[in-house]
Symmetry: C2
Subunit: 347 residues, 2 copies
Amino acid sequence: MAESHTVAAAALRRFTASVFREAGMGEAHADTVAEVLVWANLRGNDGHGVQRIPRYIELIDEGSLNPRPQIAVRLETAAAVLIDADKGPGPVAMCRAADAAIAKARASGVGLALVRRTTHTAAIGYYTRRIAAADMAALAASASIPNMPYHGTRVAAVATSPLSLAVPSAGAPIVLDMATSVASLGRLAAFRRAGRQLPPGWALDEAGNPTTDAAAAELPLPLGGPKGAGLALMFELIASVLTGNPILAAAISEGGAAALHRQNGFLIAIDIARFGEAAQFRDGVARLVAVLKAQPRQVGFDEILMPGERGDRVHAERLAAGIPIPPATWNDLGRIAARFGVAMPAE
Amino acid sequence: MAESHTVAAAALRRFTASVFREAGMGEAHADTVAEVLVWANLRGNDGHGVQRIPRYIELIDEGSLNPRPQIAVRLETAAAVLIDADKGPGPVAMCRAADAAIAKARASGVGLALVRRTTHTAAIGYYTRRIAAADMAALAASASIPNMPYHGTRVAAVATSPLSLAVPSAGAPIVLDMATSVASLGRLAAFRRAGRQLPPGWALDEAGNPTTDAAAAELPLPLGGPKGAGLALMFELIASVLTGNPILAAAISEGGAAALHRQNGFLIAIDIARFGEAAQFRDGVARLVAVLKAQPRQVGFDEILMPGERGDRVHAERLAAGIPIPPATWNDLGRIAARFGVAMPAE
């Protein structure tokens, strides 16, 4: 019978960094990718955690992900940068962009970092949280190859592009991290594994018809129909078309090489201290959180949770007890470990 | 029997401006409010059109809306402004803020305008469209007194704060304008008037329980539960708490004067020409639109519509044929006209 494994975050990070070093990344880049993937696992967001390692390796093998990128600022204004990520790892490009947005906001009140030619963004809340940790408000979104219908199409025509907003607080930072689909691909997969029926309105099947059969679900539907589809479209227009690296039009109409993995993104930072007292802002956030949590609840709700709060709790638990790795992921990582001659993480 | 009335946009604008001049606004401010309200009517967004005039007058009467505001820039950085709207009309404050964001973006690549102490925003897409007309990408949101449950509360705890994104195009500009609720208050009212049952998940009744009875619906539910509620929360934190004018915490916990009408907002502009060729951007947008429209459609869809496209069509129709004013609104406007000694618009 397949065994479950539990690994300490530090050991999982070391393993992940070793794999990516062996796959050709420099040490600092490998460390950043390991940090961001394992962070997602710590928060219970396993779909963006180490289960992605085999896919990242595939992307390196096919040439979609450059393990030795020359990431460079292509254009710069008083408040903005356009960064070309040279197909480097998404976590490396997005951390660099977050830091650039922070620096620009420090100088000019608001900072924008546009990122072209990046790869899998991983958990986008990592980068907005990084900006919030610098006492700034943050907004970030990314664009990718099509995997979701546009409102009314029966084929994939936009991406389940995530949107994240974050602010610091006197308590835990508030970090909203949401897909533009009703349910993420990971959530559809979880229903499939559990043999559960999907609620109506979540997915289309391979033929482009609505389905509640999780096993037949192929395409996640956009959140609120035209709203989620519209957001995904706008993120492509700003992250991709504006940066001169459009993804969707060619991926949909040409396919083939034009549909290979690639992403673009953007981050905005607002320097809170330029508009008032940062401490007063953090207190104001905490006050509203306290008020919201004290409100009478709907039937079926035991408590009122803030954006990111559930993940914060899982983070605390997994930091103490370790990260559970399901058997299928463990086997995948075993194959990767063998290929690169890296020892599996200690349990 | 109650009669329907049809009025040319220009006549309706003249009427609206006259009312607001008589109610104490300066000529330029009255013209701007008339322009923005009638624009919403032209686009078929009647809930943000002239039916709001009686409410605006109430707001002036109760002191929530200042018809003679001293709107001023309170803080300024290289890329941002904080504007205090002095409780002036939302359309005036938001137009001024949009122009400030454009000027800052022209100077610094990206521009942020934070707006504190404004009033009813009206159709937020007006302001992002204004930014798009300056060949910039735009994002705007606003915050208001509570009228929507936070995810899990049985009482109003956040607002149905709208979000808008816009970009120019070689065709019509693409303008997404969405509430953070599943359905707007106006849409709930339309179901009520039509005697139609609401879909599940749209609303709570007065006691805070889910209802599909449109007549009993009191609170619109947030889009996608924690997603829409999270967006509304983040907009309050950025537009209100960051600008030193928090709305929700006191409105929820104190009520009374703290729950009187007030709003805050923010707009971001990105100067496309600083990052590439604006003409190439507009062509890229139009190319993606053409590709999306050509995709195979789901059953029940006659065509694929872009954000704002339906409103563009109504705009063209109503510009030619006039704006229909339902009997109830006509009667309300008649009372306002009598009070201020203004002639009703010619039909």
